[in-house]
Amino acid sequence: MKPTVSTYQTRFANCTVIALLAGAIFAPPQAASQSCCSATAANDFGVVGRCNYAMVAGELRYLHGLSSFDTRGKVHSLKHATYGDATLRLGAGLRMPYSDIQIHGQLPMNVQYRQLGSQSGHVGAGVGDAALALRWTVINDTTDGIDTADTKSWKPFVDLFVGAKAPTGHTPDDSVDITSADVTGNGVWEWSAGLKLSKYLTGNHVLQLMGQYALRGARDIAYANDAPDDSLAEFTPGNLITTQLAWVQIDSIFWSWGVSANLQLTTEVRQKTRSTTPSSPWQKIDDSQTRRLRLAAFVTHALRYPELDITISLSLDPPINGFATNIPFTGASLGVKLAYNTLDKVF
């Protein structure tokens, strides 16, 4: 009998739960009580670790396209397209004089390959959209774990953050490559705010929950075939809602690892005619919302504690019906990140 979608989903969900529980219960016994300074920041690129004052990081990541999801959430393999993105991200973070506040940013540089149909492949390269954020740790965890006799031990780290992403990448409107291999940015400003909770359940196990909302601005588009009055429009991609659930295990000051599930939703795309009726209302574009679930795992090793660490991470968009909608390309990625941290106060 052919397995159904729900069979796949159930099987996947069961295995994920087992894996997560197994990671928690059967962790290696040598786990040290010291909390790794940068472990809980490993899945936040460019963010300064708990006991560090500044950091710079570089990450090389390759994503290979495996499938696409249509508007109904059905998965389709990429039979007629080959899709690969190599991204070098540079990031840095710095704590302010009031050390619970830090500023951090990142700049991606992309090399992208697209081969569509029977045509030869195209390569495009360029700077992506740069991002800058301000992060405030409002509440600090003791990092000793939960002790029911001590109410202070229940407090998690609470980080509030606001950020902006600038349209420094090459936009779809500027593209000259027929495959769009040269498109490295959205072409709009993005303003975001979010909250992250990190709780040391023990000295070695951290549960993290993050939520973020991003407003995206508009860009101009031009239709070639519409009547002149309707040929120019403002276009705004949907706003982004991101949630992340992560589990980090700190085995020692040298080793940590974790798994995460990242769910990203975008609201409907909107546009309005620009030419003759500037006050015309925004119109929603049908079936333009997206949903994307990405699973990831990482392991971090301190090459030279506490300054230099390396993180290797894997991520995957599960190619299962219903796990995403309206995403042209999804796939698996492998990344290697080097981070240099300093314990010295800059200010």
Binding site: F12, T16, A24, A81, A224, P237, L295, P319, P328
Partner: protein, 159 residues
């Protein structure tokens, strides 16, 4: 205390049994990932496109039907055959048809093309290009001799 007890239990050897050592945590994680891969593959592609269906232009001057090759359309280069009839359902000849592939959810398109007339009311292009899977609009601008341009939009689900 309860959580400390919970997490300390995992390292307590059971009398009479070997210490747990390093159980295959990564194997279990791999199981989860393999489960995702088991789900990998194509869903059934249902092509509901009817090449005989007629689409009325905005100003009701023309009706258009379209044959796609391949069908459903794919990323890369595709062919499109258009049959255009006028209000009296006679083949519309001598038209200038400009084709604009457009992805509404992404706010971009690909190369704009002119269709070539190959017979009475028959227009073709073999260079219709889609640079990613998803829902595309084929925006047609149809202009006949001495009349104002009219428009038709066809919806394609590109795989």
């Amino acid at each position: 205390m309860a959580s400390r007890l919970f997490f300390s239990l995992r390292t307590q050897p059971v009398p009479g049994r070997a210490a747990p050592g390093h159980p295959p945590v990564w194997a279990l994680i791999a199981c989860a990932w393999m489960a995702t891969l088991l789900g990998c593959g194509d869903s059934d592609v249902v092509d509901n496109w009817d090449p005989r269906a007629l689409y009325l232009s905005d100003d009701s001057q023309y009706q258009v039907s379209a044959v796609r090759n391949p069908s459903p359309p794919q990323t890369g280069t595709n062919a499109l055959e258009l049959t255009v009839v006028d209000i009296t359902e006679q083949p519309a000849t001598g038209l200038s048809i400009r084709i604009e592939p457009w992805m509404p959810a992404h706010g971009h398109g690909t190369t704009v093309l002119d269709a070539k007339e190959v017979g009475p009311g028959q227009y073709v292009t073999e260079k219709l290009y889609f640079n990613m899977p998803g829902r595309w609009e084929i925006r047609l601008r149809i202009e006949g001799p001495g009349v104002e341009a009219d428009r038709v939009v066809l919806d394609f689900d590109v795989r």
